[in-house]
């Protein structure tokens, strides 16, 4: 009997105007949105390949060790087409300089490069599901009992040998079954658009995540279905039920998440990043004082220098010195030998400030998440972002790996004493150093005659350093189980919400006055 009722309700709903209008709205919005999402993903893939190439060139095109500034690059995920999460607010690469631990990733790829367009609302597939499907859920259930009561059919049906429990489960199943083809069509539509893009390659893990996303979408819709049914079972008039349902929908989907997020944002303060930067500048000034002392020490040790013949790059950054007399080169080597550990030390000191600031941001994010998860739409967004690898957890995981790699890389420099060698800052072999300025100029002149470089600082023909032994960055992403564990409490909350609402609706319907 449950099946008969479910089938009848399914057919009723499937042909109702409210369902068709909502469905058409989805059909209009989804292709547009997914197409744009696919385009941005293609841009990301292109950028990732470019970044990866450049990161590799840091090693293959390095002429001295000082020039190597490793870059950690995170591959884009095709699942960002489903849910953007925070992917448009955070970058995908971390430049790992010796003088600073990265606070944020760089290389943000947004849908539109014009930053003024951030002013407009930009939706993704999950946003559309969150808004439209929850509305359809409400619209299909606000009169699930009250309409039948108003029409007098509820009394008629229950005068047969049909229990209220059967009727309740039949009706609920009817609405839920209506959503399965709707959701399936939406997801298939996305797959069709994705399959047209040559850049999108889904792997087995991605399919698993999409299946979970689909199931979670159903769970989210069930919550609204049971909410609508509950209110319908509590009031006698469909109009009243509709008004109450719509109010609750508007509050849950629009007002509560934004209000809670705004409140959370202002309750937990994160400090000012501009101030963090200015305080880091103070540490930079302190470093320069130490640097002055180191230079004094170098001169006291008897090293002398009167400048460089050809110098490209920055003081303690990616510097390269060429055709410079031996005496100056020795001084330069000693300078780097002493300065390098101090640079790393100051980077660690700056990191304390950065970490405090980041901790504030993480804390604020957590509070906002707890607050806004009073709304099922926000739970849906957080879980989706996590499943689509575009949530905060995945980004933090990447940045932690990048920072860990930075430590490994520069520790290797220190252990192998790379910074204390000539190859740290010059491509010349020690035996090739000119004895004085005149010889250096002559060497340079001869070299330019022979190699005809394209510009003043085109020094490529001086050769490259060996980098095969240097540690390299490899990104390992979070597994699906890890993701699920991260969001377990949200999943449990949603399931609990559904169960409680089902129980309440059932209880209410059992006592429903059908006259």
């Amino acid at each position: 009997m449950i099946w008969h009722i479910a089938k009848k309700d399914f057919l009723d709903n499937f042909t109702s105007a409210r369902f068709i209008v909502g469905f058409l709205l989805c059909l209009f919005l989804i292709p547009f949105t997914v197409y744009t999402g696919t385009r941005i993903y293609e841009n990301r893939v292109e950028k990732y390949q470019r970044d990866l190439r450049q990161a590799e060139e840091e090693f293959t095109k390095a002429q001295v060790y000082a020039q190597i500034q490793p870059v950690a690059v995170k591959p884009p995920t095709p699942l960002s087409i489903f849910c953007k999460g925070i992917s448009e607010q955070t970058g995908s690469q971390a430049v790992l300089k010796n003088d600073e631990v990265p606070t944020f990733a760089s290389g943000i790829t947004t849908m539109y490069e014009n930053q003024f367009l951030n002013r407009f609302i930009s939706l993704d597939f999950i946003n559309i599901l969150v808004i439209i499907l929850s509305l359809i859920g409400i619209l299909l259930t606000y009169d699930i009992f009250s309409r039948e009561r108003e029409n007098g059919t509820l009394r008629l049906v229950l005068s047969n040998r049909l229990s209220r429990a059967d009727l309740f489960f039949g009706k609920a199943a009817g609405v839920l079954i209506t959503f399965v083809p709707l959701l399936l069509i939406c997801y298939v539509l996305v797959f069709i658009i994705l399959s047209l893009s040559p850049a999108v390659h889904l792997v087995a893990g991605d399919y698993g995540r999409i299946v979970l996303l689909f199931l979670f979408s159903l769970l989210y819709l069930s919550l609204f279905v049971f909410l609508g049914s509950y209110i319908s079972s509590k009031v006698r008039s469909s109009s009243t039920s509709l008004i109450i349902n719509l109010f609750i929908w508007c509050i849950l989907v629009f007002l509560l998440p934004n209000a809670m997020s705004y409140l959370g944002k202002n309750m937990v303060k994160t400090g000012n990043y501009g101030m963090v930067r200015l305080n880091m500048n103070d540490l930079d000034n302190a470093f320069w004082e130490d640097y002055g002392s180191i230079m004094e020490q170098v001169h006291k040790e008897g090293y002398k220098t009167d400048g460089y013949e050809v110098c490209a790059g920055w003081n303690y950054g990616g510097i390269m010195v060429c055709f410079t007399p031996r005496e100056n080169m020795e001084c330069e080597r000693r300078r780097h030998e002493l300065v390098f550990p101090v640079v790393l030390d100051y980077a660690d000191k700056k990191w304390q400030l950065q970490r405090d600031y980041l901790d504030g941001l993480y804390r604020q994010q957590r509070v906002i998440k707890y607050f806004s998860c009073l709304s099922p739409s926000e739970i849906m967004k957080y879980v989706s972002a996590s499943l689509c690898k575009t949530g905060m957890e995945d980004h933090v995981y990447f940045m932690d790996q990048a920072r860990q790699y930075r430590n490994t890389f520069y520790t290797y420099y220190e252990e192998e004493e790379i910074h204390g060698g000539y190859s740290y800052f010059t491509p010349h072999d020690e035996s090739e150093f000119p004895e004085d300025r005149a010889e250096g100029r002559r060497m340079q002149h001869e070299w330019r005659q022979q190699n005809n470089p394209s510009s003043t600082f085109d020094l490529a023909s001086l050769g490259y350093v060996t980098t095969s032994t240097l540690p390299r960055f490899t990104y390992s992403e979070k597994g699906i189980m890890c993701t699920l564990l991260d969001q377990l409490w949200l999943l449990a909350g949603m399931i609990l919400g559904c169960v409680v609402l089902t129980g309440l609706t059932y209880r209410s319907f059992i006592k429903y006055d059908i006259r």
């Binding site: 539109y112 997020s261 200015l278």
Partner: protein, 464 residues
């Protein structure tokens, strides 16, 4: 008769479940928004002031060398607005810091830390947000069954059997709803202003009051427009539920679909060159500039400002900067054009018209950015004139202007109080309203047309 209908409508709303629920909800939301804003404003103001003090200290340190001072790339963060509780104009999401020196206004960016990048995107719950989401929603909830509902209950034919014209009935219903919602709005705004005043953090002066009044007028216009939409859907349908479904669809279309679709179409309709291409063009221009300068262009001698190669070097650096400026300024103008074009497209939605009207009224968002961007260009030329005048007095300087290095211009210390200072100009409210009058007029026109169509359709409405 009109008065009777309005009073009847007001009573209808007053005794309805919707009334008390809505009143509590609106007052609560306005209160939450005010409390949160007070905390936010206090924090932002403190951070801004601390940042400016630190920046001034940094500039004072720089004052030992006039050239370094002139070349220093300043950032101009925009001060938190006193009227931010009305609308943020999404200033935290669009570029909010401009970089400049005496030689150039380089560009702009969204300053890092303007908002937490790890939080999922959300809206600031200020007055504007509440009006756009809640009051527009309430307007349709209050009107969807005005005509079709009465027809279903058969009270419409009864009402029209009296000596009341259809026009008067519809006007009465329109004004009744508008007055109810305006009442909610005024009560909520008073609560909010009270909280702001008690906090002592936000200064509510004459300008703010004028802004609040202007905002109230704009809000009433938006509510009127949405009420007219509700009435229109009510007169085109014979069932209240059909009317509500139509209203919800229109509401969603105006709230999300139109702004979102405008955004999707922006690249197609108002194309802007990709950043990668601009960077490549800049690099190529730089390489071409470098190649066009003779040998000695990279030579420098810190001990001798009059070293002849310094003139070549200064000219080359100036050419680098001007070459890049030419490319970038054109790109920035294209971005501004793309934004205004997309905004015009999104103004099909009355909600977006309202937001744009607010931007003008409050002198916030893009309007504020453009004003500062233009004013800063004027200031930069004054700053450069000052530096050139200072440099001209220095006999130890060869006066070869290099925007990035201090080899060939004055290295003498400066008195920081003699340097021209940039201050953001405040536009009078009347002038802002004049600038935004187009958007206000369109919103008004929208409402009038919708009401007129409703009248036309209702005059032929089958009340049986």
């Amino acid at each position: 008769m009109l008065k009777t209908i309005i009073i009847h409508e007001l009573q209808n709303h007053l005794y309805n479940l919707r009334f008390s629920f809505t009143l509590i909800l609106t007052v609560l939301l306005f209160s939450i928004s005010s409390v949160a804003y007070v905390i936010e404003y206090k924090e932002n103001k403190t951070m801004y002031e601390q940042g400016m003090i630190k920046l001034e200290e940094f500039k004072s340190d720089m004052a030992f060398n006039a050239s370094r001072f002139a070349q220093f790339q300043n950032s101009l963060p925009l001060e938190p607005r006193n009227s931010g509780f009305i609308a943020s104009c999404r200033e935290e999401s669009i570029p909010n810091t401009i970089f400049y020196s005496a030689f150039n206004v380089f560009g702009f960016e969204i300053i890092k830390g303007s908002k937490n990048p790890f939080v999922l995107p959300s809206e600031n719950v200020n007055w504007e947000f509440i009006i756009i989401v809640l009051f527009s929603f309430l307007a349709i909830i209050y009107t969807f069954n005005s005509i079709s509902g009465e027809k279903e209950m058969r009270t419409l034919s009864l009402g029209l059997s009296n000596s009341v014209s259809r026009g008067v009935l519809l006007t009465g219903k329109f004004l009744g709803t508008l007055m109810t919602l305006t009442l909610f709005l005024i009560l909520s705004m008073i609560t909010s202003i009270f909280i702001l005043l008690v906090s002592g953090q936000v200064m509510i002066d004459g300008t703010t009051m004028a802004e609040i009044s202007g905002f109230l007028v704009l809000s009433v216009l938006l509510i009127a427009c949405m009420t007219a939409i509700g009435l229109l859907s009510s007169v085109i349908s014979y069932h209240a539920n059909t009317s509500l479904l139509t209203d919800l669809l229109v509401w969603l279309v105006f709230l999300f679909v139109i702004p979102h679709t405008s955004l999707l179409l922006s690249d197609e309709l108002f194309p802007v060159e990709k950043e990668a291409i601009i960077n490549q063009n800049t690099r190529e221009a730089r390489d071409a500039t470098e190649a066009s300068f003779p040998g000695g262009k990279w030579h420098s001698d810190g001990g001798n400002p009059f070293e002849p190669d310094h003139e070549i070097r200064a000219n080359m650096h100036m050419a680098f900067m001007l070459g890049e400026k030419k490319i970038k300024d054109r790109w920035y103008q294209d971005q501004f054009r793309q934004y205004t074009g997309t905004r015009a497209l999104a103004c099909i939605s009355p909600m977006f018209l309202f937001e744009t009207g607010d931007e003008y009224l409050l002198d916030g968002g893009f309007q504020r950015f453009r004003k500062n961007w233009n004013d800063l260009h004027i200031y930069q030329s004054q700053f450069l004139d000052w530096f050139k005048a200072f440099d001209a007095k220095d006999e130890d300087s060869p006066h070869w202007y290099n925007p990035f290095e201090d080899y060939s211009t004055s290295k003498k210390p400066i008195k920081i109080e003699e340097v021209p200072v940039y201050t953001e100009q405040e536009i009078p409210v009347a002038e802002r309203l004049t600038e935004g009058s187009l958007y206000i007029a369109v919103l008004l026109g929208y409402t009038t047309v919708l009401l007129f169509i409703s009248f036309l359709i209702f005059s032929r409405y089958d009340v049986r």
